[in-house]
């Protein structure tokens, strides 16, 4: 069993409270991504799980064992850092075996573990090389190999792909996903890149200012964001927000704004909707259709800008000052500065209360 349970965690750095009363339940074998902007506390949280930062209060449990005050080496974790932190003057083999050697593990056992990790990560030809002679992908594998050799139950990743160029990043991302499938180990991964989060995670925990805003599967976080911050953080281009009001007419609920109007009677409201409630409508670019053939349009706007992306294009609409991004087919030929009608898929929108920014 290699789950991680965190209860009421408090972390302070230089007297400033970074994390306060945080609860988190990481299931065994899952790939949990801590996602958030810089300064949100995700790295701090990860380092405290590793034992590199002391907590001021609360409890951390790994695999059923209380490790709140345990040394990093006694927590059964392995960690991959942004710079990979491979010992530069040691060969790959020495890098992998350094920890167990210090711990006094028998040489035969060390050799067995190194062999197993090297085979699993295809490092066998590289064992005698030094880190400076390895490529980025190879270094990542050695860093993971270090955790494997320690027979870690939980793998921690601190933004390992942030320093790499886009192509290499995509390649290593796939390698990581493959590795997770192969090992089935519990992995906690910190990033600010929402693409990484969406592609890698079995669950995403979106963080802001030391608080977890929402923790759920990528699909749920994407489609049913719990507040405007989460809604705006995921998805590129990000979700469109339009301010308006709710109107209740004859049992139906409508969202009304100066430039558009959507029937949201079928929306799964948590509480019954109030009339005239100031509301923000959130709709993703892929859920707006231009020049809809049959459905009634939600509104009209002028085409301000077009960004061809190759496989599709992003059309920016200007609706009386409100900017809307629309994902359109590559075949569609928009005419700039011409008015056009658009429709919104009401089943896919998110409604938020304007002042609290919470989902309705």
């Amino acid at each position: 069993m290699s789950n991680v349970i965190i209860e009421a965690l408090d972390i302070q750095l230089s007297g400033v409270s970074i994390i306060s009363q945080l609860d988190l339940d990481v299931r065994s074998g899952e790939f949990l991504v801590l996602l958030g902007p810089s300064g949100c506390g995700k790295s701090t949280l990860l380092h405290s799980i590793a034992g590199l930062i002391d907590a001021h209060g609360g409890r951390i449990e790994i695999g059923g064992k209380d490790v709140t005050w345990a040394d990093p080496k006694d927590r059964g974790i392995g960690m991959v850092f942004q710079s990979y932190a491979l010992y530069p003057t040691m060969t790959v083999e020495k890098n992998l075996s350094f920890g167990p050697r210090i711990a006094g593990v028998a040489r035969a056992e060390i050799a067995r573990r190194v062999e197993r990790a090297a085979t699993m990560l295809q490092l066998n030809e590289l064992l005698q090389r030094k880190p400076a002679q390895l490529s980025g992908g190879q270094r990542q594998r050695v860093a993971i190999g270090r955790a494997l050799v320690r027979e870690a139950a939980v793998f921690l990743f601190d933004e390992p792909l942030s320093n790499l160029d886009a192509k290499l990043r995509a390649e290593l991302r796939r390698e990581l996903k493959q590795l997770h499938k192969q090992l089935g180990a519990t992995m906690i991964y910190v990033t600010h890149d929402q693409v990484e989060a969406m592609t890698l995670a079995s669950r995403i925990a979106v963080m802001r200012s030391g608080q977890i805003q929402q923790i759920d599967t990528p699909a749920t976080v994407y489609n049913r964001p719990v507040n405007m911050f989460v809604a705006g953080f995921l998805g590129a281009p990000s979700m469109n927000f339009v301010e308006g009001r709710l109107e209740r007419v004859n049992g139906d609920t409508h969202f009304v704004a100066p430039t558009l109007h959507v029937d949201v009677s079928a929306y799964p409201f948590v509480n019954p909707p109030q009339h005239n409630l100031p509301t923000v409508l959130g709709v993703r670019p892929e859920h707006i259709a231009l020049s809809p053939p049959s459905a009634a349009p939600a509104g009209r706007a002028t085409i301000a800008l077009v960004e061809p992306m190759g496989s599709n294009q992003i059309v920016w609409l200007d609706a009386q000052g409100v900017s809307l991004a629309v994902e359109a087919d590559a075949q569609f030929t928009p005419a700039l500065d011409r008015a056009i009608a658009f429709a919104i898929d009401a089943a896919q929108v998110s409604l938020f209360e304007r002042s609290s920014q919470q989902r309705l």
Partner: protein
């Protein structure tokens, strides 16, 4: 669900050992300073008691007054103030000149293509390591032949020449970090060699000039050998006079006066050091990292 074991103690034997070493080293380094100051403030009766580390019972600044105005530095007995002003007269022009040439050389080497410059720079760097004794005698004769031996101009010239390797290296490394686009833009704007130097590069070099001033002022002020040989009897720097006061006295040795003189000689470089903080370290490491 058991209660957490509590925070482990931060006070490990390793940590204690660390502070022990640091504190005892600090004592080792501070002791001579303390002794220097304490001795200089004691009257001779207390010194003869042989209690080196005791605080002065009767604090007196008489030794300082004596060191400054009446100590004997050879034939004269006008105190070490003579040396102080000599050192000022030597250090200031030497610092200015050696920094100027260092900056000029660094600038010319970094931005202009002169064919023979690279090779000469290499030899100059090597020259920084050559012991002074190898070059001393020919320099004495060369200066004597133009009547500059034993003059203020002579010693300033010597310090400029011996400061050139480190200063040139300092500025060249600094200018290597200046984007060449800046220089090209200045050329396009019509700047020539001297104009770009004085109106663009020098004003931009204030940080490294600060480091250079700290280094040169300290090194030239603390110099002994060059001042001894080249300065001439009227211009002997404070370090030479200090040595004369202490090591060439006949009769009873006035240890408090000696220590007062030592403190006075060290005041300027120590003041520069305390005020410059991190810049001083930058100076050491900049001079140490060769090419």
């Amino acid at each position: 669900m058991s209660a957490p074991p509590g925070r482990p103690s931060r006070i490990t034997p390793a940590r204690v050992g660390l502070y022990a070493l640091l504190v005892s080293s600090a004592v080792f380094f501070l002791l001579p300073l303390y002794v220097m100051l304490a001795t200089s403030l004691k009257p001779m009766e207390e010194i003869r008691l042989g209690q080196l580390f005791a605080l002065p019972l009767h604090v007196t600044i008489e030794p300082w007054r004596q060191a400054w105005s009446t100590a004997c530095t050879g034939l004269e007995c006008r105190g070490i103030q003579v040396g102080f002003w000599n050192s000022v007269k030597i250090a200031v022009p030497s610092t200015v000149a050696s920094i100027f040439f260092g900056a000029l050389n660094g600038y010319a080497l970094s931005f202009w293509r002169v064919r023979w410059a690279g090779a000469l720079f290499g030899v100059l760097m090597f020259g920084a390591f050559v012991p002074y004794q190898v070059m001393m005698y020919p320099l004495v004769r060369a200066l004597a032949s133009v009547d500059l031996f034993g003059t203020l101009t002579g010693i300033v010239l010597i310090h400029t020449v011996f400061g050139m390797p480190v200063m040139t290296l300092l500025f060249r490394n600094y200018y290597a970090g200046v984007p060449s686009e800046l220089f090209k833009a200045a050329r396009i704007d019509g700047g020539g060699f001297w104009r770009i130097f004085f109106q663009l590069m020098l004003p931009m070099s204030l940080p490294i000039i600060a480091v250079a001033v700290i280094m040169q002022l300290t090194n030239i002020w603390n110099d002994f050998l060059l001042g001894l040989v080249f300065a001439g009897r009227e211009n002997l720097p404070m370090t030479v006079q200090l040595n004369n006061v202490i090591n060439t006295t006949t009769g009873e040795r006035l240890y408090n006066v000696n220590m007062a003189a030592t403190v006075l000689t060290s005041l300027l470089p120590l003041a520069v050091y305390l005020m410059s903080g991190r810049w001083f370290i930058r100076g050491i490491t900049a001079g140490a990292v060769k090419g």
